[in-house]
């Protein structure tokens, strides 16, 4: 095994022995993918947070059934409920056990009290172990109760008729004449309040101009994913270049340089280890990206390859700063001074699509911005093979030049000035 491979193996082993850093590196894309998914809704099944509400209906009336029915509806996800009818004993036991977000108790005489416009209390027991979901239940129930009140104010008389005609067995059957009379009353009531609750509609015309691009439709999350990945790679590359200072400070760099091996072999080994780690992080990010945004699977291997080569490029862009600086602190300061503007301009903090035209034009000409555009094209499947081949060749050529520069510095003043 050559010294370069030996060094790469040694570095990978060292990185694996530092699980905190490794988890942070792997966690960055995970966290970023999660944030994007939360921010843009991802490509999931639309199931968000839903509260599980246990409902005890002691009234068993038309209105209590109406309230239960309203809670059960999922139309447009307006109410974040999942109602389950239980008896009182079971409800109290389960909420005490923390099973459910809240327990709603509709008291006996609820419908009568509403129709007689008397005070009535709904009891809501919230699960103290949960913070957000019970709060959502409380807010939504307040709206529902208001709704029930307005239904009563508007259709009070017909409803009272229905209630009075309710037979003892609870079946809502009435003579046809009675049904017709109630219907006419409801219709009149609607006509009377129509002008108030159904004001003349103002037509809103929304025009969404179609993009000229005839390519496939692209989800914003998919578009933003490469930016976030590149930010991750940038930070990762920055962290990996700092390891050269660790090697220098602990004396292992000088020990390596007095072995019968060239400085280039040592640098190549460290670079190979860095590329392997970058590829690993990139692969993890792409798997998550595929799950979160439904990235095209067929583009993922090429995207990982491009990320790895671009990662090596980022390492070699940041490494000269480390090797030229007079101290590790100065190196980190200089590195941040270079990295932050590049990240901002290069489309990692904000996608080019969200930038003013002039800024996007400048950003796409930064090294990382250019590499990011290639990655976007790969991820979205809008690349063309000859251009990408040229891009790969160009990137590798620049890497070779930077590698030579770094070798010269590493084996020279950087190691000797320690």
């Amino acid at each position: 095994m050559s010294f370069a491979l030996l060094t790469a193996k040694k570095d990978l082993r060292r990185h694996m022995r530092d699980p905190v850093s490794l988890l942070l590196w792997l966690g960055i894309p995970l966290a970023i993918a999660g944030l994007i998914r939360l921010a843009f809704g991802g490509g999931g099944d639309g199931a968000g947070l839903r509260a599980h509400v246990l409902v005890v209906d002691l009234d068993q009336s038309f209105l209590s059934q109406f309230l239960l029915g309203a809670m059960g509806q999922q139309q447009g996800g307006e109410l974040p409920f999942e109602a389950e009818a239980v008896d009182l004993e079971e409800g109290r036991r389960r909420i005490d056990d923390g099973d459910g977000s809240a327990l709603l108790i509709i008291p006996e005489g609820f419908a009568e009290a509403v129709l007689e416009e008397q005070a009535c209390t709904l009891e809501l027991v919230k699960n103290p172990a949960q913070r957000i979901l019970p709060g959502m239940v409380e807010e939504a129930l307040t709206m529902l109760v208001d709704g029930v009140y307005y239904v009563h104010r508007t259709f009070g008389e017909p409803l009272r008729s229905i209630l009075e005609s309710e037979p003892a067995d609870g079946a809502f059957t009435a003579p046809n004449a009675e049904v017709a009379r109630i219907s006419v009353e409801i219709n009149e009531a609607i006509e009377n309040i129509g002008e108030l609750i159904f004001p003349p509609a103002i037509e809103l015309v929304v025009e969404v101009p179609e993009e000229e691009d005839d390519g496939p439709g692209i989800d914003f999350g998919v578009l933003f994913f490469p930016s976030m990945l590149f930010m991750t790679l940038f930070f990762l590359a920055g962290g990996l270049t700092e390891d050269f200072w660790v090697e220098r400070t602990q004396g292992t760099l000088r020990r390596a340089l007095v072995t019968p091996n060239r400085a280039a072999a040592f640098l190549l080994g460290k670079l190979l280890a860095a590329v392997a780690l970058i590829a690993l992080v990139s692969a993890a990010a792409h798997v998550l990206g595929q799950l979160a945004f439904g990235l095209e699977l067929q583009n993922v291997p090429l995207a990982i390859l491009w990320s790895a080569v671009a990662g090596a490029f980022l390492v070699l862009v940041l490494l000269p700063i480390q090797l030229i600086a007079s101290s590790q602190r100065a190196a980190n300061l200089l590195g941040n001074l270079v990295m932050m503007p590049l990240l901002m301009l290069g489309g990692s903090f904000f996608p080019f699509e969200a930038m003013p035209d002039w800024m996007a034009a400048v950003g796409k000409r930064t090294p990382n911005g250019w590499a990011l555009e290639q990655l976007k094209a790969i991820t979205t499947g809008t690349y063309d093979v000859p251009s990408l081949a040229v891009a790969f060749g160009g990137l590798l050529a620049v890497c070779a030049v930077l590698f030579a520069l770094c070798t010269w510095r590493l084996g020279g003043a950087f190691a000797r000035s320690a």
């Binding site: 030996l6 022995r17 530092d18 602990q250 004396g251 020990r255 340089l257 007095v258 072995t259 019968p260």
Partner: protein
């Protein structure tokens, strides 16, 4: 084995090593003795090929360390002053990496790693990460990494700095074993007693210059029979120098407001007369130390300062 001729190393205006020449032989320990900043590590840096000399030449086993760098390094083992180890890796992983750097492979490497770990007393800690080791254990492992590939020339840069007495004794034994096995050892230190007990030949270096060189006996001969008298108190340096100028067979090594050092034969017998002269010169002597002829007194005589300054 090691031939250094007119070695000079400059860093801008600073001359770190100035015209150093010496030869070290196989099976012997050559000591470079000098205070911190004397130029010992720079000399080792030039010998190992890490630093490029400004002038002069360094040859290891007849190979020029600049012109034939990689070939010269094949036969070199370096034990640097700092603990050049990977703390996250185990002792055996560190050794395997550095052995691999000298093209040792497979069974040969594994056998040698086990042997060296046994020699430095770390066999039972072979699998532990180095970060759990004590300072002395790290020093021994640092040494082991330098000798793993059985170098013909071993450069040791203050290998016993900051370790416990037990580890120091063990390390010195290991260095002796290397020399006994035919290795040419170059050993830098600022510990006088270490140099006296360990080295077959010594070079005293200060300010980048080799100010004395020879076997221990030869160097002691240079001091002669003169004792070193160290007087602490309150002095007027000019009056002291003037008063002592006429005293026969006496050298003023150092004279300042708080310390006067004199090289004088039979110092104990001459103390009363010397005190009389110093009192006449307005001196207030509060403490007197007398050192018999030694490497330390030679160093003080040659440099005008103590080794640990």
């Amino acid at each position: 084995m090691i031939e250094v001729e007119g070695l000079r190393k400059e860093y801008g205006d600073l001359v770190a090593v100035d015209g150093v020449s010496f030869t070290a032989e196989a099976g012997a320990i050559y000591g470079l003795l000098g205070p911190n900043g004397a130029g010992k590590s720079t000399t080792i840096g030039c010998l190992s090929g890490l630093l490029e000399p400004t002038a002069g030449s360094v040859r290891v086993l007849g190979r020029d360390v600049v012109g034939e760098a990689l070939a010269a390094r094949e036969s070199l083992g370096v034990v640097p002053q700092e603990l050049a180890l990977y703390e996250d890796l185990s002792a055996s992983e560190n050794l395997a990496y550095w052995g691999g750097a000298y093209r040792m492979r497979g069974g040969e490497l594994r056998a040698r790693v086990a042997q060296v770990l046994e020699e430095v007393g770390l066999a039972d800690r072979a699998k532990e990460p180095v970060k759990r080791f004590s300072g002395g254990m790290k020093r021994r492992l640092n040494f082991a990494c330098g000798v793993l590939h059985r170098p013909q020339v071993l450069l040791l840069d203050e290998p016993t700095v900051g370790i416990d007495p037990q580890s120091r004794v063990r390390l010195i034994e290991l260095v002796r074993e290397q020399a006994a096995g035919g290795t040419c050892v170059l050993y830098t230190t600022h510990y006088m007693e270490e140099a006296e007990s360990l080295c077959d030949r010594l070079g005293i270096i200060d300010g980048g210059k080799l100010i004395a060189e020879g076997t221990l006996a030869e160097l002691r001969g240079k001091v002669g029979e003169r004792d070193l008298l160290r007087l602490a108190g309150v002095f007027d340096p000019e009056r002291v120098r003037a008063a002592l100028e006429g005293v026969e067979d006496l050298d003023v090594v150092q004279a300042d407001a708080e310390l006067v050092m004199l090289a004088v034969p039979g110092a104990s017998k001459r103390l009363p007369s010397l005190f009389a002269v110093l009192t006449e010169a307005g001196a207030d002597v509060r403490e007197t130390t007398m050192t018999q002829p030694s490497l330390e007194s030679l160093f003080i005589e040659l440099t005008g300062k103590e080794l640990r300054e």
